[in-house]
Amino acid sequence: MNRFKETLPALAVIAALLAIWWIAVSATRSVIFPTPWGVVTGTLELLNDGTLWRHIGASLLRVGAGFLLAVCVAVPVGLWMGWVNGAYRTLNPIFQILRPISPIAWIPIAILWFGVGNASPIYLIFISSVFPMVVQTTVGVHTIEKRYLRAAENFGVSRHTLFTQVVIPAVLPQVLTGMRIGLGVAWLVVVAAEMIALHSGLGYMIMDSRNAGNRYDLVIAGMIIIGLIGLSLDGTMRLLERIKWVRWRYAH
């Protein structure tokens, strides 16, 4: 009951926006811009002929591959940069320069290096999600509270114990935050990445719907589906906050 009460305002706003949308389209008698109902029927059409699942699957595969690759690179590099000052001083300037470059700017180079296929969008997703994760991991190591490092020093433990029992567990929540940000960015970029002429993926579906007959109902359907999948990806990452290795950080 309480939950219902809490979500009520949000639902009301969504309903109001849908109503405004519907009224605006009807009032202007637009033939190109669809009504909400048009989007629903468009979505059903995509579901029925099975193309929607194919596109979703293709997008998730690319995001999954690019993101996991980025995790494999970013976490060790971030730990290394956080722990070894020389590594930080050497690599941080490079990352700071590369980080603000929009993944879209990488498209020509991606095509040059990887051609037109799955590798290009995977590379673009990788490049967009790797930096936030490196930064979060590095900051995570840098912000480990001194009192814990001092306690470890006091007990005279080996460097190995220090790393596995203090540094890694202490940064894990930050790594997870970085992964959440990284996955969010990866999903954000998939549409742009799939605009490189491929024949599958939600990004492709959106561009193709527009190019092949101004099907704006399918464009909007694609946008909404991207939003919903992004939301559930984030929800999945939040579920990870409950695993015991990081729960100490959130359980207060």
């Binding site: 001092r150 306690a151 006091n154 007990f155 433990v157 114990t161 894990l172 950080r249």
Partner: protein, 250 residues
Amino acid sequence: MPTKIEVRDLRKAFASDKGGALSVVENVSFSVRDGEFIAIVGPSGCGKTTLMNIMAGFIKPDGGAVMIDGVARTKPDARGILISQQGSVFPWLTVRENLMFGLNGHAPANKMAIADEYADIVGLKGFEESYPHELSGGMLKRAELARALVVKPEILYMDEPFSALDALISLRMRNELLRILAKEKHTVMLITHDVEEAIHVADRILVLSPRPTHIQATFDVPFAHPRKLSSREAQELRVAILRELGVDHE
């Protein structure tokens, strides 16, 4: 009793915000006998914590030395464990894992047995698998104490360990500490702002001056345990110490 700690002409200054040096510790010398319980009281901000950090090896002094058993102590090790006011029980490890943390060179099964033994000693039996965030403030202090005791340190450095606890739990922790120390002989250095606490637990009380700090007065506490803090002698001692601290308190 042989001398355990010998502090000689300790000096320490920090760079101040305005530039220049801010002298914090100036010519502090004293010695501590093996197994002695020393309490350090002094006005807040006087440099007590700095002094203790130097003694435990975490801060390098500008001059002077800390000798433990006649050998200069220059860096921290498990022979002297520091318990700070804010606490440092690892929140990502269970109580048992925290206690096992400092146990090097034991077989895993032994580590666990030793950890559980000390959890029992400090009254945390049944909480071995709890995480720190599941414990109360008092229990957290017990865990911290147990983690220090488990490595059998020769010296315990305690920096206001119980001051964040409420009065009742703080009092109970003092009694627990005395009970444990009666069995395991450690040399203890305790910083406190609570004169009554110092009289309750210590064999000797050092009163530090305001910054730059030096030892302003030393009081022996010749009362046998368990101590009666309401006794006339204890009250007189309390008034004398407070007077040293600049508080006129009947």
